[in-house]
Amino acid sequence: MRKVISFLLLAGFVFYFATLTGGLIIPDSSADRNSVGLDILSRSAGETGSANAVTSVVVLYRGFDTLGEVTVLFLAALGVSVFMKSTGEKRKKVLDQSFILKTGSRLLFPLMFLFGMYIIAHGHLSPGGGFPGGVIIATGFFVILLTSESVNFNKTLMSVLEGLAGLSFIGLGVVGLLGPGNSFLQNFLPLGEFNTVFSAGIIPLIYAVVGIKVGAELSSVVYAMKESK
């Protein structure tokens, strides 16, 4: 009986929820109310010089949110390192990886690293940017960490990189604050020629520091999980 009642309650809630939020998945005809999105679409190319409108929203229009999101990731990595304390001793070899796997992963690593860098550097031109690029670089580290028994992973370097990238993000913002625009994260660099690598002012710079930060954080998360008890 209890199961039936709870199922009915759940079904009722799902139905209610679906009727109310259906518009989130299938947009209804409320396009006239959605002026902010349309406004940004029409202005972003001229204002920010970024060929990728999504990037201009992520890095400039809502750049402050991105700073917050980067901080959330930083916190998550910090949390993993607080809770998964390294045992300090070398782990016993669990699996002896085959020669092909080890060599293959070493061969793959520089390619993944390069691809990640490419994604980061072209964030303002094509889909991608700091977050996915950083993840791709970190995946390169995962492959190495998972296939070889002992890796010289420099934890200090990673935390220095994290801190430095975070500080550079804020530093770029503060330069805008001190500049003529007098606004945090103001795009203070020239916009350059549209749709080339050196364009869109500070957007590629911010994406570069985001990429470094994401890459360093996710790599240290995986390392901490591998080394913990």
Binding site: R33, Y61, S159, V160, G163, F184
Partner: protein, 486 residues
């Protein structure tokens, strides 16, 4: 004029700086945190007179709202910034002697991020940005609750994490619904457009938002995580979580109900919930024998009292609630901070083990008594004035419902006084002997003394304080408008 954005980027930048320099500064990174907090206190104090004249609106990335993100700092933002940064600074000083171990830099990083999140939530003028700072605040508190790595701390942290994550998902759904229906994320713009949304969806947004935020604000029945989390966190963190984190979440609920959603018809329900929260908290605290659990449940009771005052739908009520927040921040911080060293020195959480401890730790015991008396509302402590104004504001509304509620609130106070005075009686027991116990170190006592000064001298500057809280209250009751902001 100082830029309010410094209140967010200074602690955040220092947190990154600590991560950068931790490998060679080791535990000296705490002095970086100290510098950041001093800077924050200075900025927030400079901010207050400026915003009393005219609210400050800070545009970020040079993009005017509603396209971009802005900070909107009125009296509410300034008063809460002072509360957060001053309490934060004192608790940081306390932590210098209280937190031990090798990886202290992680503690101070998390501490600064908690401060960043609290400031961000109070100052931002954008709904999604609020969610981002809420996440920063929530995640840093999950980690800090389990910071000591003990079994019950980790259990509490996981419990808090699960409930808190459900809460943040609900807030995110509310934000998504807001963007879908109103097409804007700016708070002032939303306040203009919210009335045009279909009423059923308006209610849904309100319910999701209040439920999600209510988890963090510890409103009944969403507060089952709080007693565990606040009692097993390091005491300095308990003081922060009880002192201003739950109040920040609460004031966000109140601000949205009054000045953004303008749905004051929900207030009757909120005041009922508030009184239930209060009674549940006080009755549960009465049954506890662990000192930190008593304090944690008492925080639930106090949150109920504050929410009750704030849901009276009057400026007086809001004013009283704000005074009660100041009182609770100061007195509950004292109690948690004193309890921290009681636990360190005796090695026990049980109140019965503190029999006669006042002989060995006279200063701490004295501060504890001051904190308790102010929390109970004994004259001439600050708590008397705040509790009196809550009762007056409720009686002034003239409704029978509120009068009944006031009696229940006073009943809660009686229970509160029974269990708190029982603790004091045990601490000052003449026959008791706790063995060789030392007084707490000087620096923590200094920090606690500063909170005590607020309580003891609060009534001397009462007109000034009510002046500031009054303008916060009138900011909250007024509906936000795009035209006023810009």
């Amino acid at each position: 004029m100082v830029n309010p954005i410094l209140l967010i980027i200074v602690p955040l930048g220092t947190a990154f700086l600590i991560s950068l320099t931790a490998s060679f500064l080791k535990n000296s990174t705490k002095y970086l945190a100290l510098l950041a907090m001093i800077a924050n206190v200075w900025v927030s104090i400079k901010l207050l007179p400026a915003v009393m004249q005219h609210p400050i609106n800070v545009v970020i990335a040079g993009v005017k709202p509603p396209l971009g993100i802005n900070l909107f700092v009125g009296p509410l933002g300034a008063v809460f910034s002072i509360l957060i940064s001053a309490a934060g600074l004192l608790i940081l000083l306390y932590s210098f002697k209280y937190i031990e171990g090798d990886s202290q830099h992680k503690y101070y990083t998390l501490f600064l991020l908690l401060i960043t999140g609290s400031h961000g939530m109070i100052l931002t003028g954008d709904v999604f940005n609020l969610f981002v700072f809420f996440e920063i605040l929530a995640i840093s508190s999950y980690i800090l609750v389990g910071y000591e790595g003990k079994r019950n701390g980790l259990e509490a942290a996981v419990k808090y994490l699960i409930l808190g994550s459900i809460g943040s998902i609900l807030i995110l759904v509310a934000v998504a619904l807001i963007y879908q229906e109103a097409g804007t994320l700016n708070m002032a713009d939303l306040a203009d457009k919210f009335g045009m949304i279909d009423p059923s969806k308006r209610l849904m947004i309100l319910v999701f938002f209040i439920t999600g935020m209510g988890v963090e604000a510890a409103v009944f029945p969403l507060n089952s995580w709080l007693p565990d989390a606040h009692s097993s966190a390091p005491s300095s963190i308990s003081a922060m979580l009880s002192g201003f984190v739950i109040e920040v979440a609460l004031i966000i609920i109140v601000k949205f109900v009054y000045s953004i959603f303008a749905m004051t018809e929900i207030l009757g329900f909120l005041s009922l919930v508030a009184v239930i929260t209060l009674l549940v908290g006080e009755f549960a605290a009465y049954k506890q024998s662990n000192i930190k659990r008593v304090l944690a449940y008492s925080s639930i009771g106090q949150i109920g009292l504050i929410l009750f005052a704030m849901s009276l739908n009057s400026t007086d009520g809001l004013n009283a609630g704000l005074m009660q927040i100041i009182n609770h921040t100061a007195s509950k911080s004292i109690l948690f901070l004193v309890a921290g060293f009681l636990i360190v020195r005796t090695g026990s959480y049980q109140i019965s083990d503190y029999r006669g401890i006042a002989k060995k730790m006279p200063v701490s015991a004295f501060f504890f008594v001051v904190g308790v008396l102010s929390l109970l509302g004994v004259p001439p402590f600050f708590g008397f004035f705040s509790k009196l104004s809550v009762v007056m504001a409720a009686l002034h509304t003239g409704s029978v419902f509120n009068t009944v509620m006031v009696f229940l609130v006073l009943l809660g106070t009686i229970i509160e006084s029974i269990y708190f005075l029982r603790i004091i009686q045990i601490m000052y027991n003449r026959e008791g002997d706790v063995g060789s116990v030392k007084e707490a170190p000087f620096l923590p006592l200094l920090a606690i003394a500063a909170f005590t000064v607020v309580i003891l001298a609060g009534f001397l500057v009462l007109p000034q304080i009510t002046g500031y809280t009054g303008s916060v209250a009138s900011e909250i009751v007024r509906k936000m408008q795009m035209a006023q902001v810009f």
